[in-house]
Structure formats: C-alpha cells, structure tokens
C-alpha cells in the first residue's frame, strides 16, 4: 500500500511510457500488415493508406477497444488473489508491457515472426504464474483466448472464401461484369458500414458518453436499425464514388475496368481493416496500462468494476499514429511492394473477412492477432482458386511465432517482475 502511495505517479508515468512504446511499435510494424494489402493491390497510395490508418486505427481503439482492454486488464488474472498486495499488480503489468515491447523490438529487428497479442498475453500469464501463483490465472479464460488464436484465422478464411465465391458468381463470371460490379458492390459497402456502426453503437458509445434510444426496445434492435441506416449512407457514398469510373477497353486484361471498380470498394474495406486492428491490437497494448492506472487511482484497491478512462485508449491511439508517422509508412511501402499479385477483387474479400472476424473478437473481448487473421483470410481466397501463388510455409511460421513468442514474453516478464520487486523493496 505504502509503495503505491509513495511512487504512484512514477508508476503511472512508467506505465504510460511503456504503453506508448508498445503502441508505437504496433504503429511502426504491425499496421503495415493491415494496410499493405490495399497498397499492394494499388487501391490506395501510401499517403492515402496512412491517412486512413491514422483516422480509423484511432477510432477503432477509442470506440471499440474497451472489451479487449478489459480482458487484458482483469480477465486473465484474478484480482482477488492480489487484493492485499496491489503493488504486485502494478509491477506485473509494468513488466508485462516492458517485456512485450522489448520482445517485439528484438524479434522485429531479427526478422522473426511475432505477434503483439501473443507477447502481451504470454507476458501477463508469465508474471502471474511465476511471480504470484498459478491459481491467480483464470485458466479457462486463457484457454478460450488460446483457442481463439486458432479459430480466428479459420473463420476469417471461411468468410473470405465465401465472399470471393459470391464475387465470382455474382460479378466476375457474368456476361457484363463491369455493370454487375457497379450494381452489386454497394451491398458489400453496406456490409462494411453496418459492421463498423454496429460494433461502435454496441460497444463504443459508452466511452463517448452518448446513449442511443430509438424507442425500439432493446439495445440490440436499436443499434441494428441505426447501423442498417448508416450502412445505407456508406453504400450511397460508395455508389457515388463508383460513378466516376468509366469502362475502358483493355486487350491485355478484359477485367481491367472491373478491378478498378473493386478498388473503390477496397478503400472502404481498408477503413474497416484499420478500425478492426485498432480495436484489437491497440487495445491489448494499453490493457496493462489501464490496469496500472485503475489500481493507482483507486489508491491501491484492485477493482474489477471501475470504468475504463478514455484517456488510456487515447495514449494507445496516439502511440500508433506516431509509430505510423515515424516508421510505419516505410514498412507499409515495403509490404505493399511484395503484395502486387493481389488484385482488388481478392484484396477486398480478404480484408473484409479478416476485419469482420477481428471486430467480432474485439466486441467479445478476445485478444487475437489481426495479422494471423488476415493470413487466414488470404488463404481462404487462395482456396477459392483466386490467388496465383501463396507461400504455404507462412502457416508454419505462424505456429513458430506462437511457440517462440509465448515463452519469450513470459520469461522476460518474469525477469522484469522480480527486478521491479527488488528495486522498489528499498
């Protein structure tokens, strides 16, 4: 107790610093995976991709990140176990942040496959199991999270497969693909608008302090109706943008004009991708920060109920934006150059499948990896025979990243945890 009263401000400052560092790392590196598909398929220029990423990562983290943050903050560890020793919670979360950020840095520099989500979860489980007690962990919750890491890429793959098959039958394999595309693509745009609006209305508005009531009885019905209307607005806007695209004859590729229509759709799915990434990956970077802040602000009482302050998500969102501006744009350009084989009609299916899966995971508070989900989605399009060549070895490197990242994050967190304990014991 005294430790917290004495060093409270220092702890909070450290947590902000580490949390910001973590978010910076995500902005510098991880965002590239979310945005690279759009740049690679030439639906967006790098500048456009960065502008979209900045706005929608921020919105995603701020409006839909709350559930994942609270899982990291109080879902994995049982706060009751540490009721008498709030400083342990503070040390633990600080070391989890530092461990994850350090590990991400090392692995990225070495070119090893890593995932922010996995390092954070590994670090938290590590410090709690070794530093406190094995019973301090909600193992059934951890099991659920681990299962979601396998399930999310598979679901994203199935969704993307279905999306691409629908595109194939409804648009590409018809007598007049160009005009079919213009008529059908607004439906996909509606889906993007509906999805983001739904998550925002159900999960995000309490952060902003707005309450929506259209007199339909039931929060869900209200949100569904409002989201459907917002979706219509989005689709209308998209249809307006598509009107500018005229059919041009191209001998080399008869689908040239069709792909240009899909490129408009991809602007929308890129927004949803950035939103999804913000709502999950950013949120789990600031989860430990939220835990530290709430422990210190309540004067050492570890409460599971306290509301999450909005400024914490702001720290994460800002970290991402700064990461993007300082380093991320370079990585986006590099990834984009490697993904040139992906045309907009496939890129959109992959992005929408991944974004939908991630957003639903965010709403249920499951911390998953956006990158792995997107890989699953791309493979789904590949199974629909949509992509010329995919490197199947990447699946192996995803498994490797699980095997390496979890113990590495855990080990580093344990080391930092005992270091903090020793330093502040005097």
């Amino acid at each position: 107790m005294e430790v917290i009263a004495q060093h409270g401000t220092l702890f909070l400052a450290l947590a902000c610093l580490f949390g910001f560092f973590m978010a910076w790392g995500i902005g510098a590196n991880d965002v590239a995976n979310a945005m690279g598909t759009s740049v690679g398929s030439r639906a967006l220029t790098i500048t456009q991709a960065i502008c979209i990423a900045m706005v929608f990562e921020f919105l995603g983290a701020y409006l839909a990140g709350g559930e994942v943050t609270s899982t990291i903050r109080q879902g994995i560890i049982d706060p009751e176990v540490m009721a008498g020793h709030p400083e342990l919670m503070v040390y633990g979360m600080l070391s989890a942040l530092l461990a994850a950020a350090t590990w991400l840095m090392i692995a990225s520099l070495q070119g090893w496959p890593v995932s922010t989500t996995h390092s954070i979860v590994g670090a938290i489980v590590g410090f709690a199991a070794v530093g406190i007690s094995v019973d301090a962990i909600h193992w059934e919750k951890v099991g659920g999270i681990a299962a979601s890491w396998v399930v999310s890429p598979v679901i994203a793959g199935i969704v993307s497969y279905s999306l691409f098959m629908s595109v194939k039958y409804l648009i590409l394999d018809t007598d007049d693909p160009f005009h079919r595309a213009k008529r059908i693509i607004p439906v996909y745009m509606w889906l993007v608008g509906f999805m983001i609006a739904m998550v925002t209305l159900l999960k995000g508005l309490k952060n902003v302090g707005v309450k929506l009531d259209m007199g339909l009885g039931g929060e869900f019905a209200n949100a569904a109706l409002a989201s459907a209307l917002i979706g219509l607005l989005v689709a209308g806007f998209g249809a307006l943008l598509m009107r500018r695209i005229k059919e041009v004859h191209n001998e080399q590729n008869r689908f040239y004009s069709v792909e240009r229509v899909f490129a408009v759709l991809m602007v929308f799915t890129a927004c949803s991708m950035a939103f999804a990434h913000g709502s999950n990956d950013v949120a789990n970077a600031v989860g430990p920060l939220a835990a530290v802040a709430s422990t210190i602000q309540s004067g050492g009482v570890i409460s599971a109920q306290s509301a999450m302050p909005g400024w914490i998500l702001m720290v994460g969102a800002l970290g991402i934006v700064v990461g993007l501006a300082t380093y991320g744009w370079k990585v986006i350009a590099t990834v984009g150059r490697k993904i040139t084989e992906l045309t907009p009609s496939r890129g959109f299916a992959a992005e929408l499948g991944a974004a939908g899966t991630v957003v639903i995971a965010s709403a249920t508070g499951l911390p998953i990896s956006t990158t792995h989900t997107l890989v699953g989605a791309v493979l789904g399009v590949g199974f629909a025979r949509g992509i010329a060549a995919l490197n199947a070895r990447v699946i192996g490197s995803i498994f490797m990243s699980w095997l390496i990242t979890l113990p590495a994050g855990a080990a580093l967190a344990v080391i930092f945890f005992f270091t903090f304990k020793v330093i502040f014991a005097f």
Binding site: K168, R254, F255, V375, R385, N391, A392, R393
Partner: protein, 226 residues
C-alpha cells in the same frame, strides 16, 4: 524491421505471367519458320542465316525463361492449379521452340531447298503450322483471365472454344503433311536420295511443331478441368 512481415512473405511470385511470356517466345520462334523457308527458296542465304540466328536466340531465351519459371515454383507454393500441370505446360511450350530450332538447324546445315514443284505447298504448310502455334498462344494468353475468375464458368468455355479451333487447325496441318508426303513420294526417285531423307524429316518436324502446339492446348484443358 521489415523481415518479420508475415504478410509480405505470404505472397509468392505468380507463375502465370512468366508462363504466358514463355509461350510468346516459343511462338516467336515458330513464326520465323515461314520466313526462313521463303528466304531459302529465293536463294537469299544471307537473310536465311539471319533468320536462323534469330530462331536460335529465341530458343535460348525460351530455355532461360523455362528454367526461371521452374525455379520459382517450389513445392511449398500453394497454387490454384496443380503445380505438376504448370510444370508440364512449360515443358510442352518449350518443345514447340525446340522443334522450331531443329527445323532451322537442318535447313541451314544442309543449305536445303525444296524441289520447285513443292515450294508453294511447303510454304503454305509451314504457315499453317505457325498459325497453329499462334492459336495455342492465344489460348495461353487467357490464363490471367482464367485466374481472375478462379478457373471456372464462362471463361473456361471461352478457352475451350479456342482449343477446339486449335484442334481443327492441327488436323488441317496433318492433312497438308499427308498431301506433301504423297507429292514427294511421286518425285523422290528423280532426286538425290540423301536430300529426300531430309525432305521427309523436315515435313515430319514441321508437323511436330503443330502437334506440340496442340499438346500445349491439351495440357491447358487438363489444367482447367481440375
């Protein structure tokens, strides 16, 4: 920090573009054969030599591209069509270029010139064989459109129609070859025997060019059927 980007590593190099380019080069070699025969019948050996050089160069280019396609098709790639089908498609395309070169080598090596009574029909035959290779190229050039629609539906039907035309053209070259062999048989006793052997060989090699072009089409059909 870019090495860790899983997504960048996920996408392999598409074999479709290089395969199309390979067929284009193979076809180029075949399209030069009528020029070569025209030059030899005119007795213009300078031009014939230049054309022969050009055919040799094209065949080497095709070889280089073939090896590059194979190098970029490792077993770990996940492709929309079986890898073995793509590899044998490239081999068959390469055969077309190789046979074209064989024809040129024999004609130039022996300063060969067909008997005057046959010259027009031999040229027509060479042109028909070249047209067959051209039709195979047209079908191969649909590969990227096939990929766009995931190897299904209308695009497959479209390519199948092209392959039917290819079949027809190849049958025509068969008939022309039979006619030419009969013509040669009637006059062969008046000609130097060694020359006659090689006339027959050139006729059969030209026929092979058309056969191999058709084999490319057959392979394409197998590839689409899966």
């Amino acid at each position: 920090m870019t090495g860790s980007n899983i997504l960048g590593k996920l996408f392999g190099r598409s074999p479709i573009g290089p395969i199309q380019e390979h067929m284009q080069i193979a076809n180029q070699a075949v399209q030069l054969l009528p020029d070569l025969i025209r030059a030899t019948t005119a007795g213009d050996w300078d031009t014939a030599g230049a054309v022969h050089k050009e055919i040799e160069r094209t065949e080497r280019d095709a070889d280089k591209l073939k090896r590059s396609v194979r190098r970029h098709l490792p077993k770990s790639l996940f492709l929309p069509v079986p890898r073995s089908d793509l590899l044998s498609l490239v081999s068959m395309q390469d055969n077309v270029a190789n046979t074209a070169r064989d024809v040129a080598v024999i004609i130039m090596g022996r300063n060969m010139c067909f008997p005057e009574s046959m010259q027009d029909s031999v040229l027509a035959f060479a042109e028909a064989c070249a047209a067959t290779a051209g039709q195979a190229l047209l079908a191969i050039q649909e590969l990227d459109e096939l990929l766009e629609v995931g190897f299904s539906g209308r695009e497959v039907k479209r390519v199948e129609a092209m392959l039917k035309e290819l079949d027809k053209m190849e049958r025509r070259t068969d008939k022309m070859a039979a006619g030419l062999r009969a013509q040669l048989f009637r006059i062969e006793s008046e000609l130097p025997p060694v020359d006659v052997i090689f006339y027959y060989q050139i006729l059969s090699l030209l026929g092979n060019v058309a056969d191999e072009a058709e084999a490319v089409g057959d392979r394409l059909q197998v590839l689409m059927a899966k």
